[in-house]
Symmetry: D3
Subunit: 305 residues, 6 copies
């Protein structure tokens, strides 16, 4: 997906220039893990056009393997338009991704051997919202990963502009049963699964709906809680000045996964909240950072000087 945006204070309907940046929940996670030194690949469909290459360029720059990309000769690029705003207006998002290459990809096009040559497969609840084909593809990916002994990470990521809460709950409620790591915002837990209550309770309640060994619930400005079946992990959010909100949830997921891959969930949560803060303080959905910077930032906390 490409994100076309206007800065705070400018209205989309009177814009004369749009900032172009890559986006997409899974690709944000892949790019960030690659920047932190992990071997990652992104598999999906892109139009074989300058717009498709634009998205690919950003992933390749981050170090993501693109050998599994399905290049769609006549496809269109998924777009989304963002009008950043301050209260009393909300930041406004217009999705324009119907009929995109991504929405039209099918399980038959996927290079499964390439996709599953990994420790971990990360999926989100946005893909099944795009089309019936995408729903099937997601389901098949989870099944194949399980058969291949590949851990599956899943971020619920409900998008009200793509489908209704009822549809999403039906589809996603089923999909999350079979995953190994589960990410869900507290708001989505309420909207989709009716799981309310204090975060510490809600995350455990959510965990019961899945076989996930780790369930992570983001609680906005309050940070994140996680439940691994034994321990309740809690990590407050880092203070920052919000410059660009989209992508913060993906950065959180990438941080948690980096910790999980290193065998340290608590470190993952600390990584996650720090990367989310880095995401908020930079333009764009994809976080530009290094492992060195993350480690320096996660330990001390920077002081502007």
């Amino acid at each position: 997906m490409l994100r076309l945006s206007v800065p705070v204070g400018v209205r989309l309907e009177t814009a004369s220039q749009l900032d172009v940046r890559p986006g997409g929940a899974e690709s944000n996670v892949a790019a960030l893990l690659a920047r932190l030194g992990r071997r990652t690949a992104w598999c999906g469909a892109l139009p074989d056009s300058p717009l498709g290459r634009l998205a690919a360029n950003h992933l390749r720059m981050a170090g993501v393997d693109l050998d599994g990309v399905i290049w769609d000769v006549d496809g269109r690029m998924g777009l989304y338009f963002v009008e950043f705003a301050t209260p009393p207006r909300a930041t406004q998002v217009i999705y324009d991704r119907a009929h995109s290459s991504a929405a039209q990809m099918t399980a038959a096009q996927m290079r499964w051997d390439h996709l599953l040559d990994t420790q971990l497969l990360h999926l989100t609840g946005i893909t099944p919202a795009l089309s019936a084909d995408c729903r099937n593809l997601t389901e098949e990916a989870i099944q194949r990963a399980r058969s291949a002994g590949v851990a599956v990470s899943f971020d619920v990521n409900y998008r009200a502009k793509l489908w209704s809460a009822a549809e999403a709950a039906a589809t996603l409620g089923h999909l999350i049963e079979g995953v190994d790591l589960l990410f869900c915002s507290r708001a989505d837990a309420v909207r989709l699964f009716g799981i309310d209550g204090a975060p510490a309770d809600a995350v455990r309640c959510l965990a019961e709906r899945s076989r996930a060994a780790l369930t992570v619930m983001s609680v906005g400005a309050a940070g994140v809680v996680a439940w691994d079946g034994v321990t309740l992990h809690q990590q407050p959010a880092r203070e920052t000045v919000i410059i660009d909100r989209p992508g913060a949830g993906d950065a959180l997921a990438a941080g948690v996964l980096a910790g999980w891959l290193a065998g340290d969930v608590a470190l993952g949560l600390r990584y996650g909240v720090t990367l989310a803060a880095l995401a908020l303080s930079q333009h764009g959905d994809m976080v530009v950072t290094t492992l060195a910077e993350l480690e320096q930032t996660v330990d001390g906390g920077a002081i502007l000087r």
Copy 2:
């Protein structure tokens, strides 16, 4: 008028680029009411040059009828320069509108039938500050409107860089006697009319100086109060992040007028504070919005997500 400005953090004296935007108290009100779906026209003088057309283009884009414009072949465009700033500096405004087409227009040039083909005529205290001709024109407009049964709305809008408080008080004190809706900031009430005290008292005190059926006093960050002879309306300001201050007062007036035209003063005040907040959160004097957005924003209050 055209506004030429530099963004916060840049000094005018070292600028290499200026942002150009339309401005002008009456045209801001007209453009906003047009965007909210009201039939509006703006009557005034513009130079018949690219600069005059620049101003006209923005009004026409908003949907304002410009059939009453006096196109001045050899005129100059009124300009004002703005250097946005943060404390300890104040935002600085340099007016350069002497000898402009607007300052030189006369009652004889006005197409009165076109001007008065309306329910409501909106005037401000800036016009009579420009020249003796403009003072006469304003006076004649009020008289003609009354004769024609057209309601007159008047925003005091004292500009210290255009005339002294004493001059303004003399002229405006007289003009406001005959209007139907009166807008005045609390600061202007103090400076021009010596009306001090709590807003709830001050607005009633001000109301006594006019035949206005509705007197509206803006009280800065505290919001707005209004007196209709029976009820004291109070509406707190909306929270926002200030990006561009000029035009907020005009947005307030437009909102109040939209409510008044719909027969609901209280709604007008809620519209007004919301539109003022929208004005503060956007670049430019003229607010870009829609009635749908206003109604969505006025009801709930947006949360940045």
Copy 3:
């Protein structure tokens, strides 16, 4: 349609900003005629979104009546991406207008009475290329116009990225039979209708395929020829420096129509080549000019000083 472009020397696949401008063959003609003082309206479908309003704003600014716009609540905006280039690369265009509001409008949605309250209806061969609905709509429009005694102007405008030459020839060959003014580039005459030969012959040969009282053939840098059944009009192109090519053909059409509406075909051709040169020398598809500027430019020819 919105046009998203990068300037010469920049590649789309490495862009970080896109220039946004309105486009669309019929709207370009309507906007230019409005700027020249003609009463014009544009009827078509736009999404009821900031992107749809962006397009509408530019038309309204030019003075075009938009009362006949079909506001499509859930529609998508037609887009096209342009990468301007110099040889050895060609300027590249990527259309992304499938499934747009425009491509999905139907005859049933059209406010026919509003559309036909005019002397002249201008259509292009792009609309029928968008969808079967659009093809039917175009056909119905021509029929209804004839019944209502409204002259129909038609610009062939073949777009190879939207349909094959064979398909276009079949559809357009039929449509042009019933029009009153016919515009076609020499290249399209060859590609679609196999009409080759010298322009003076080709235009007459093309004229035989239609009932058009005036047939106009643009011949690129060589200018334009026209045949009115009696006289062969020829007008060489104006010299210019090409800054932005799209829209030049629409400017030519607008100029010819302006002359035709004034009862002077020869003047129309002189207007047309001048407006085409103005289009080439400005950024954007829509030409910004005035009747005064056109008359000054068409007579003398400007010298850069």
Copy 4:
């Protein structure tokens, strides 16, 4: 004066940004001579505002002494708007300098001792076009300079937007009688003084109207001719790509003066045509260069590599 401009391809009436640059014929000459290492001062009136300081900053940066500036507390800055264009449109200039500080300065305000502490006083025909006061001031300056034994250089610089050719001819025809160096374009010689014919003849014909020891006539793309009473100097123009035309004539004058001050008229003409080409190839009226660059460029002629 400040110059507010839009780049080629952009229309002033749809501009959202203006480039701000200093301008003014005399100040351009002073700044360029200062950059070439000459001690120079500029005397004139500027508003005591950020806009006045903006102009002063650029002169001070070039090394021009500003001790003789008349700081006008309530003055307005002279402006001019430029819309660069390519054929068939001409580059368009809108002057907005009536009532400016410069137009209102009087002989009584001038620090004559400071002004005349120089070898050479350079004046142009633009100043007397601004107001009656400016006309008197120019005349007095020439007389005082002659009394003080200071050479006077005068550039005719007729501006049709400021006064008629007849008015200009009357005033300037008188003024040039008493100067020591006279600059005039061939076009102005025709328009004001009816001096037509080949440049070699025209320059001698013009020279007879003045006591000037050197008369310099620019002949556009053909270069420049000069007559010193004995020798006819001819220097063809340098080839360049025109990026920004205003200021080229002032650059020519500065080059000729630099040569004249060094006692070498022929060198001055070679300097002049090179500086004019440098002016054309840079944005802005004021040329940024160094003596080293000039000498390197004047000798060889650069080849783009």
Copy 5:
């Protein structure tokens, strides 16, 4: 030095444009004092290249005398790169000034008579950090100034990226013994000299290490304290919104020196905190202001209106 920076929210490693601005502690002080009306000169080495002239242009624009500049034909310009940031990242600075003209200048190149034709010589602890030559040069400057009866002002300005605290303490501890005015931040007093405790005590403790008649200690957001051997001066910082931090310390020093030169230390501190706030609220290291603005701002404190 030139500063190359990216704005908040942009990462240096993905930048496509850099803002270029002049910098350098001593030149910031000189430029600001010149803007406040003081006769100032800057002596140092610059490459004889466009980059060296870029730095010189900004100083000349401010009114600083550059006759003492050592133009280094083959030198390189000292650079520093700044990535502005918000927490959790700190603003990051990359120095690239090794082998620069400034780092290679020697005492033998200095025009001592020109340098010492002044009331006050201002030095900082950055210069001796650059090279052994610069260390010797600084030492010689202090000695020569004392011999010539010129007061020496010294700002400790420890830069951890240029040398270790131990090296700096050894060199600077020796240098500050012989100065007349001493500036040191509280953080540097701790790091270099182990002087801790309340500011009021620390500044007196620091004062004992020097013969300075005035010792000034900046205490960040808390403002500044100063000790003149008799009186303890305290001045709280001004409230502002930080737009660009570098240069605030130099602005404080310039303000204190302006007061000291006027014989009023307390005024100097008030000037200093106001100029520091002006520095923080503007882009760039060099403060653009006027004495009039300073006096207006220092007295009342501006309210954004």
Copy 6:
């Protein structure tokens, strides 16, 4: 290396923004071959800083393997500043690469096994100009490649700002003896080796100084000639509009190498002149293109439409 530039018409000494782009002769070739689908790696030293990562990001985006990069913890980035210009000024380049990480790398740091895991090693005459270490490194690379059976390609690329023609001739004359493919501009052949005469003769004369199986001589606007010991290949340059000259020679080399790797020298020359034209028509040293675009462009030659 990073390239910091100002566009045509802007002077470096008055710049306020610099465009940042990656550069470097070998990296340009590597990036372009990678974009054409070849497996390529770049080995060299970069500072472990945002500036080093900026350069690496662009190479990684193009698809170049960076496993052989020597990350230099305290190094500085090589820079060069470009002021694009039109006649009479020449485009001016300021190198600032002394003491850079690249200039300080040694043979001992190189991962030779990685470097030589290739069919072809491409080197240029710029590297040995940087330092004695770089000279030794280049020599060792050629020897090791020959021992390992890896073909060596060498582009003479004389840079007068880095060393004298005599020094370059001595070093490079020796180095080119042992290479397999030799690139040299005609101008360098004259300056370094005194090889004058018609290109067809000069290329053969140059070929005698080396064991190269293919010697390629670029002849500016005339195109390129090549001698493979049997056949003289000639290929005229493609027409284009020059937007950005640096990098065209590297693009030529990449094209020739692409052809050579495919076993078709004549195709390589056609590729080369087309890629050089693409380089000239894009901003930046690195060419953005695809194999599909190259093949489409090389065959037909595009017509701007």
